[in-house]
């Protein structure tokens, strides 16, 4: 099948590739770039396990073609930590607050929360719940995910004592 040339930035690195126009962004990231952090959990854009950051917006990469990401800037879970490997406040928060169990939704959830906290650095609990409502979790019941995001918001706001 015909291939289309695309160039984009993924986690700060320039990427050039030729892809089939029908290839989904999630398959491009996972199968071609071997960024296997974002996952596939459904076929209908409900679960959000494939969430990545695309030009400053959270998108479900199972509903975006790779060719639509031409010239875009993408961040996946693999690009959330600092270049020196230091964990992002969200990554730390999810561990501290027991915000994950099987870990399958976690990359999408953290990537979504990463954008949420830039849109709204000091969200209320209701705003967090609404803000992550495009991301499904089957293990945690969300309560500790909310706490994890609050932990990160507090930490990012410079508050030293995070929630218990």
């Amino acid at each position: 099948m015909a291939q289309t040339q695309i160039s984009l930035t993924v986690n700060g690195k320039a990427v050039e590739a030729s892809v089939e126009p029908r290839m989904l962004l999630i398959h491009f990231l996972r199968d071609k770039l071997r960024l296997t952090g974002p996952h596939i959990g459904c076929d209908t854009t409900h679960c959000g396990a494939c969430t990545v950051d695309l030009d400053g917006k959270s998108v479900k990469s199972c509903t975006v073609f790779a060719v639509q990401a031409d010239s875009a800037e993408i961040t996946t879970i693999e690009g959330i930590a600092a270049p020196d490997g230091a964990l992002h406040a969200l990554q730390e928060g999810f561990r501290e607050m027991h915000g994950l169990q099987c870990g399958f939704c976690t990359p999408g959830m953290i990537t979504r929360a990463y954008r949420l906290l830039q849109e709204n650095p000091n969200p209320s609990e209701a705003e967090i719940r609404a803000g992550i409502s495009g991301n499904l979790c089957r293990c945690t019941g969300y309560q500790n995910i909310v706490k994890a995001i609050q932990y990160a918001a507090d930490k990012m706001a410079g508050v030293q004592e995070a929630a218990q």
Partner: protein
Amino acid sequence: MNDTVLTPEQRTDQLEGIGCKRKRVEDVRFVQGKGNYVDDLDLPGMLYGDFVRSPYAHARVTKIDASKATALPGVVAVLTAEELKGVNLAWMPTLAGDVQMVLADGKVLYQNQEVAFVVADDRYVAADAVEMVEVEYEPLPVLVDPLKAMEPDAPVLREDIKDKTEGAHGPRKHHNHVFTWEMGDREATDAAFGKADVTIKEMISYQRCHPSPLETCQCVASFDKVKGELTLWGTFQAPHVIRTVASLISPIPEHKIHVISPDIGGGFGNKVGAYPGYICAIVASIVTGQPVKWVEDRIENLSTTAFARDYHMLTEIAATRDGRVTGLRVHTTANQGAFDACADPSKWPAGFFNIVTGSYDFPVAYCSVDGVYTNKAPGGVAYRCSFRVTEAAYAIERGMDILAQKLGMDPAELRMKNLIRREQFPYTSALGWEYDSGDYHTALQKAMDAVGYAELRKEQAAKQEAFKRGETRELMGIGVSFFTEIVGAGPSRNCDILGIAMFDSAEIRIHPTGAAIARMGSKSQGQGHETTYAQIIATETGIAAENITVEEGNTDTAPYGLGTYGSRSTPVAGAAVAMAARKIKAKAQMIAAFMLEVHDDDVEFDIDRFRVKGNPERFKTMKEIAWAAYHQVPPGMEPGLEAVSYYDPPNMTYPFGAYICVADIDVDTGETKIRRFYALDDCGTRINPMIIEGQIHGGLTEAFAIAMGQEIHYDDDGNVTTASFLDYFLPTAVETPKWETDWTTTPSPHHPIGAKGVGESPNVGGVPCFANAVNDAFRFLGSTHISMPHDQWRTWEAADRLGLHT
């Protein structure tokens, strides 16, 4: 650091042992996207498999033409039942003693059944080729209602066994009959009903639902033709069982099969069984000589692998006028779908459904279960519960509420009156279980006090009056449930899978520097085993948890185990790891005594060391002992410090709990708001309270999902109408209630550390609690039983039936 300056408390804390809210080891990789799940695997030359599936629920397959598909560039093979017959794998045995088609052999029996398996060098090409396989069907009459399955003129579904009068579990009395299973004393129970003051009888149906972990079922099969060896990576909750099954149904000897379960993205029972996808991937790899990946999509997952429930329970309770229960009788029709592929211990075709007497002191009881075939997908797994326990809990807990209503009693008061008393443990139930321990009244009283139960009932009464006066359109429901789980299958005397006793296992090796690795027969799917087993070893041996690696899922390195489901990891594998640790400790004691130049009996264990009795300044730390084990063992002793334990539990464990839910229902929209949910769990000794709380949050959320919306629904033609997340309810953070958790601790008397298991309790207790809350809201209007799921539409309909919209 000098250990001697630390206090005993500091030394204990350093271990991060039992009782510590230890942060999870697993999280470090998961939060960075560095988990290792099956679909992350990429092998050189790997091919992709995809299924052609039946659009019909019941039809003859008259022709399969794969010529166009095989001509498509990139397509390597198309398998049908004909190809599989060549290796004797067109059908496969199920765990329940039945057989199941791997690929349609002459007919299809449920919608989306596997008809052909396309193998291509690319996912997209495989999907294209699926569309190009031409299949001709001749539709047959469809049977979806289990209550009609045994009517005389019901369509014949299983032509392969239509004349068989004997099934895996006894006589068959109809061509769509699978088994009859009975427990208890029927005559004595009938007699109790005959002289009862009060009886209730209600058909309590538990809808078909699905575990739906976020990661679907998937595998990669790689057959090495030179060595004749198969490596199979997959989402297996029980990898050793998969290896044995693979060996039994293929010519490959078991030592040449390597099964690996990497990280698993949730299981909840979905990943216990063996599915056609696994068999087809294996055969395709053998045929092509290349690795073959099979990844189920969500529609395939919801419509073909491992449904749960579909139990229809005619529930009767007999009682005295003052509210003492005198008998329980339950007849269940179990819809098994097209093949009996229940993942139960072999001798238990209806699982442990005979826990249906619940937490109450029934003097007599009788239950029977008839399994039937229908044109629905096979399965019948324990979705976040021990085998058929949530069904039983739903029946008895709804039944108790209905009885309370008939008696004019408060549901909590009725429960208090009938709960098994503390002094009755160990308690033998009328249906044959020996409950190991419990303190039920304390738990229920604590729950009632915590929520201010009496005040809630007053508020409800006031709201009901206001509703009658037309001042509000909102009803308030208070749901109470008290559950007893039965987990930790199980003793070899009554539990096996394919003849293999349901023990579990652990192997611990202490390295010379005092670090350790433990390998387990269980397999985490998110439960945090890498964290919690290390805590057990830490407390038992005095080696800090941070110095212990826990490894699971590789059948070449792990000791044989039966896997993780039915909350059996802590009761069985958790016991095995404690026993293995004790073997190590016993050897360490001898080494320490030798090093200290005293008799073995003159040293005693103290947190992280052995010390001389009466002289605590003389001691050897476990770190020192570990080093000595490799260079200075006593004469005649073998060097090294390792142990294996295979643990055959003497009994099940019986976690219990008391849950209370407060719901507010808008009768005009049917919307139900969960105002409050309080869950008290008693899981015996608590290994990691943080993980326990997380498990309870998750289990309650799944209970909420089931009670309030989940249903795998079929129309009359056998079309599954809820096969995607568009229609199948998975709650988001917005709908999910906030959870309050609490506990009491009644250790199991027979488990080495007193632990009972907890992951599934909240689902077992939660489902009836939500259902009771919704039903309780309508109770004062004369409503007896509204069936799950309590979604907005059904709740509106219930209100409508009661004339509330006129």
